[in-house]
């Protein structure tokens, strides 16, 4: 029971991070029907920006940890958003309306480019940071096993939930969100009704990147280390989460993220840690075979 509770907490924390990244995939897919393969690496870039901003703020400017974390979140969201905006503008927008593989290949190229750019500029080694937030609650304790809820886990889950509420409000209640949903349903019709489609798509990329940047900060806070190759595996898992939840569906992305996080931690705890990624991918394959559009995805309607 203690092990299960502990893994539930860990899995929810990890799942929050995956969910935040998965939203970026699912939004971009929803609006332009493209798999933004570079999104995992945008997340990694966000982690690096967070790391360096945090160092500037604490080591150079001497700020305390909590205010610098808040600033890092803000700066990271803006700068990562700028990165994704530029990527969309340079690598994807010229290919819009081209055949489907072209933007995908461009995105794979972008993903390789970003990872190696960071490797060349920042060196291939892991970048460790001393823990930002220490301490934890002991929820349940016996001699051998204790269930521990670390402060950083609380921060991660709280920030994620707060962001999701803000994001849900943005998509459901604001003119911007309405424009976005309109573009998702029918881009041509939205354009005819006076929505600036290019701008809406750009903003979608910026929002996706901002959420990925938050995930990057959380990842850095949780693991205390980031490296240039950290984009691929979380990226693929978040994509898996998006597909598992039903790609194009925002609650699906979060649900998928939480499921993948839980599967991963539970598998590591009860079976073997070596095969945790295999478990996540296998569950994806099995789910897709029985639910071909994911858990919350809308069934594809074929028109002849």
């Amino acid at each position: 029971m203690e092990v299960f509770l502990q893994q539930l907490i860990n899995g929810l924390t990890l799942g929050s991070i995956y969910g935040l990244i998965a939203i970026g995939y699912t939004m971009v897919f929803g609006i332009i029907g493209m798999v933004n393969f570079a999104h995992g690496d945008v997340f990694m870039v966000g982690g690096f920006i967070a790391l360096m901003c945090f160092m500037i703020l604490t080591a150079w400017l001497g700020l305390a940890v909590i205010p610098s974390l808040l600033l890092v979140l803000l700066i990271g969201m803006i700068l990562t958003g700028l990165w994704n905006w530029t990527i969309e503008r340079v690598a994807y927008r010229p290919l819009r309306g081209s055949f489907r593989l072209a933007p995908l290949i461009s995105a794979i190229g972008m993903s390789i480019f970003l990872a190696n750019l960071v490797q060349v500029l920042q060196g291939p080694r892991n970048k460790p940071l001393p823990p930002m937030i220490q301490g934890n609650f002991v929820l349940m304790g016996s001699e051998s096993t204790t269930v521990v809820l670390a402060y950083k886990q609380i921060v991660i889950v709280v920030v994620t939930v707060a962001l999701l509420i803000a994001f849900w409000w943005l998509v459901q209640k604001t003119p911007l969100g309405r424009a976005q949903r309109a573009c998702e349903q029918d881009r041509k019709m939205a354009a005819l009704l006076g929505i600036d489609v290019d701008r809406t798509i750009s903003i979608t990329f910026v929002i996706g990147a901002a959420l990925a940047a938050v995930a990057g900060v959380m990842y850095l806070m949780y693991y205390g280390v980031v490296s240039f190759s950290d984009g691929f595996v979380p990226g693929v898992k978040a994509f898996t989460a998006a597909v598992l939840g039903g790609i194009g569906s925002l609650p699906g992305a979060v649900l998928g993220g939480l499921l993948i996080g839980l599967i991963e931690t539970m598998w590591s705890a009860y079976f073997t840690i070596d095969y945790k990624d295999v478990a996540a991918f296998s569950i994806l394959a099995i789910t897709l075979i029985f639910l071909p559009t994911g858990i919350l995805g809308r069934p594809e309607v074929e028109k002849v």
């Binding site: 798999v35 790391l51 160092m55 700028l82 072209a102 500029l121």
Partner: protein, 521 residues
């Protein structure tokens, strides 16, 4: 910044009103670049003696990047001719490089020559732009422009094949025995492996239109099948067959890979498009992770070493009396094996191409292409879509398995490191960049990407520009990713943009690739 602004004046006289707009846009682009470069480029994280991270700044890099972006954007808006744009931007970058070198080290003859090249390129770009601005745009179509080439067309394929067949001998003649191993092995064999993989994947992506992001899984199955059978099974059961190991395992590897293709394909081929893509990617990763973690089976990260090398149909390539050299009365040299390997992979690749070409004329090939164009129509005509897709998947996997078997035999050592997603991406990129469905395109793209990759190893002179610590191979993957993006932007349909139709009325004419649905998934 100022250099470009002044020197581009004459060419831009015709479009003087464009200059403020171009300057505005370029200024904006430079500002964006400044934002992008802020922490990642302008600062560097390093570990100090006590293993703590420290930051060092390098704002000059960010400045150079911003200037380069300003020039590129300025020229891009102002100039009309693509060639002039390229020349001017490239020349300006060379000029900047010379400037950085002069500022960093000293204004020596080397910096001066870099400067001269930069100025010459910029001048050439300006002249060309002026010419392009004064002459009316050509109205000839691409077909008319290449009309002079038409009579030579039937001879292109035989000539290319002849060149491929003669390549090792040409290399031998050009650089001698010692130097040619590198050229045959790193360039010839390496490129041919990717051509073969590209042609194999082309059956899946190009003909059947299924997006496969995990093709490397079958490559891995083939490689591990050969490695395990030849190092474990054959010595334990039929040690006498040792020299024939490669020739026995080649078909087995292909069949095993095809079997895996069927096993993996059967449940997932009901899925379409991106779902299929992610599941194939997942399977590619699963196979790699299992190879890493199942140490008893595959020896994990450490990989499998001392895999037997292929023999010349039973005659080993060694210095013994029964070896290849002794048998033919030649002096022993490793070059014979390299040349032999070259011909083996050439034959395997040509087999793939031959099968592809012939299959397009068989009912199953027609069914693949019909399926790619319209799945619903196929179903209404009674084509069993799952089986049709499965044959394409299995056949593609089989050729991947052959290539993997060859790869293991050539390397003599394999580990899961060789079968990462990057490899799948590279093969897919070759297929798409070449022009999905075009056999010739795969060849061109392999030569450009893989050959270009290998060429980077040879660029030692760049050390003079950027200092001794500069290692061009470090930038290989970076440039690979960048070139994928750039080629897609330049030619979204791939380098070869015409397709041979399978069925036609009276005569076969090449059609534009925008008329087919290759790779729509």
């Amino acid at each position: 910044m100022t250099i470009a602004a002044q020197t581009s004046l004459p060419a831009a006289r015709a479009a003087e009103s464009q200059i403020p707009k171009a300057a505005r846009e370029a200024g904006f682009a430079a500002l964006v670049m400044l934002g992008l470069s802020f922490p990642i480029l302008a600062l560097r994280t390093e570990q100090n003696m006590s293993n703590e991270l420290i930051l060092t700044s390098r704002w000059s890099w960010a400045l150079i990047a911003c200037i380069a972006v300003f020039i590129a954007r300025f020229v891009q808006i102002l100039f009309r001719s693509a060639l002039a744009k390229t020349l001017t931007v490239f020349g300006s970058l060379v000029l900047l490089g010379g400037l950085a070198r002069a500022a960093g080290a000293a204004f020596d003859t080397f910096a001066a020559s870099v400067f001269a090249i930069g100025v010459a390129l910029v001048a050439l770009g300006l002249v060309w732009e002026r010419r392009a601005a004064t002459t009316p745009p050509s109205t000839r179509t691409a077909a008319e422009r290449f009309a002079w080439f038409a009579p030579a067309k039937p001879y292109v394929a035989p000539f290319a094949l002849g060149l491929l067949a003669a390549y090792p001998l040409l290399a031998l003649a050009a650089v001698g025995q010692g130097g040619s191993i590198k050229w045959i092995d790193n360039f010839g064999i390496q490129i041919l492996i990717y051509i073969m993989l590209g042609w194999g994947l082309n059956i899946v992506v190009g003909l059947a239109g299924l997006l496969d992001l995990g093709y490397v899984a079958f490559y891995a199955v083939g490689a591990y099948a050969y490695a395990l059978i030849s190092t474990q099974v054959i010595p334990a059961t039929f040690p006498g067959l040792g020299v024939w190991a490669f020739w026995i395992c080649l078909p087995i590897s292909g069949l095993l890979a095809a079997l895996w293709g069927i096993l993996l394909g059967f449940p997932v081929l009901r899925l379409r498009g991106d779902y299929l893509a992610i599941v194939t990617l997942a399977f590619g990763e699963i196979i790699r992770l299992v190879l890493i973690n199942w140490v008893d089976f595959s020896n994990g990260y450490a990989g499998i070493s001392s895999i037997p090398r292929p023999s010349f149909f039973g005659v080993p390539f060694n210095a013994s009396d029964e070896g290849f050299a002794a048998l033919f009365g030649l002096e022993f040299s490793p070059i014979y094996r390299t040349i032999f390997l070259y011909y083996v992979i050439l034959c395997l690749a040509l087999l793939t191409a031959f099968v592809t070409v012939r299959l397009r004329r068989l009912p199953v090939g027609r069914a693949w292409e019909a399926l790619r164009e319209d799945e619903i129509a196929c179903r209404s005509l009674g084509i069993n879509t799952t089986n049709t897709k499965l044959t394409a998947f299995a056949l593609g996997a089989m050729f991947g398995g052959f290539a993997g078997c060859f790869f293991a035999a050539r390397q003599g050592f394999i580990s899961p490191e060789s079968f990462t997603f990057l490899e799948s991406a590279q093969v897919l990129a070759i297929v798409v960049l070449g022009g999905t469905g075009s056999l010739l395109g795969v060849v061109i793209a392999s030569i450009a990407l893989v050959g270009g990759f290998e060429i980077l190893r040879e660029l030692d002179f760049l050390k003079q520009v950027f200092g001794e610590s500069f290692d061009p191979t470090q930038y290989r993957t970076l440039l690979f990713g960048l070139s994928m993006v750039l080629i897609m932007l330049w030619k979204p349909r791939g380098l070869v943009s015409t397709r041979e139709p399978t069925a036609f009325l009276k005569e076969s004419k090449a059609v534009s690739s925008s008329l087919v649905k290759e790779g729509h998934g």
